[in-house]
């Protein structure tokens, strides 16, 4: 039986115990996997962007199963905005710091002037710091794109 979009939208959202239990069990593992992808990004496929998308998808999954207001209790709007801006600031801040210390943009080896470890390991750890920033930004922006699209910008109720 095919239902129209209008009928689907007018349906009262019903709580389904199978759906909610499944999502409640899955979300921690999805988030652990996203964190693994971010922190292991410079040794294996993955990185800040992919890990951030996986983390954002876990919050979107919460919003799909429990409704948009429940996901806004989990990750509040203020936290979302602050995390997005801090993520962008971490990326550009580290890049600009490298340039200010006399190196190239995103040339992590000059950060030895701040914390004296050898330049080779600074290159590895600098990539990690930048990817944490990228992950934070991508996660929060994915969640807020979903919030805005699902509620037509009003952020009151989702799908």
């Amino acid at each position: 039986m095919k239902i129209s979009m209008q009928e689907a939208r007018d349906r009262i959202p019903q709580r389904d115990i199978i759906l909610e239990t499944t999502v409640r069990l899955m979300v921690p593992f999805i988030q652990l996997y996203g964190l693994y992808v971010i922190v292991h990004g410079h040794y294996s496929p993955g990185g800040g962007f992919q890990g951030g998308v996986v983390l954002g998808a876990s919050v979107i999954l919460l919003a799909l199963a429990f409704g948009l207001p429940a996901s806004k209790e989990y990750l509040t709007e203020g936290t979302d905005i602050i995390m997005a801006n801090v993520g962008a600031l971490i990326f550009t801040g580290i890049a600009a710091l490298c340039a200010l210390l006399g190196g190239m943009f995103l040339d992590y080896s000059v950060l030895t002037k701040i914390l004296p470890i050898d330049p080779i390991s600074w290159r590895s750890h600098g990539i990690f710091l930048v990817e944490v920033g990228v992950g934070m930004g991508v996660m929060t922006i994915m969640v807020s794109i979903y919030w805005d699209m699902a509620s037509a910008g009003r952020l009151d109720e989702g799908l």
Binding site: A8, R9, P45, G46, Q50, V53, A57, L159
Partner: protein, 81 residues
């Protein structure tokens, strides 16, 4: 690289792409586009570009499908103007 697997995946990709732009229903087009993204992800992984395949699987098959469905649920069957 296994060229037989490449050929099968490419035929399926072309089939999905043609189906996604010819089907009338927007929701069906979204789901077929998700299948297209997943097949492209398999193709990237098979050709050795694992990083691109990962991005395709997370963004193409995962999040963009949800965005499309969220946008479609805000449309109406007939335009009002």
């Amino acid at each position: 690289m296994i060229w037989q697997l490449d050929l099968v995946l490419l035929i399926l990709v072309v089939f999905c792409a043609v189906a996604a732009i010819t089907v009338k229903d927007l929701l069906s087009a979204t789901i077929i586009f998700s299948a297209y993204s997943f097949l492209m992800c398999l193709l990237w992984a098979e050709m050795g570009a694992v990083d691109v395949a990962f991005t395709e699987a997370t963004v193409g098959a995962g999040v963009s499908t949800i965005f499309f469905i969220a946008a479609i649920f805000r449309t109406t069957r007939r335009s009002k103007d």
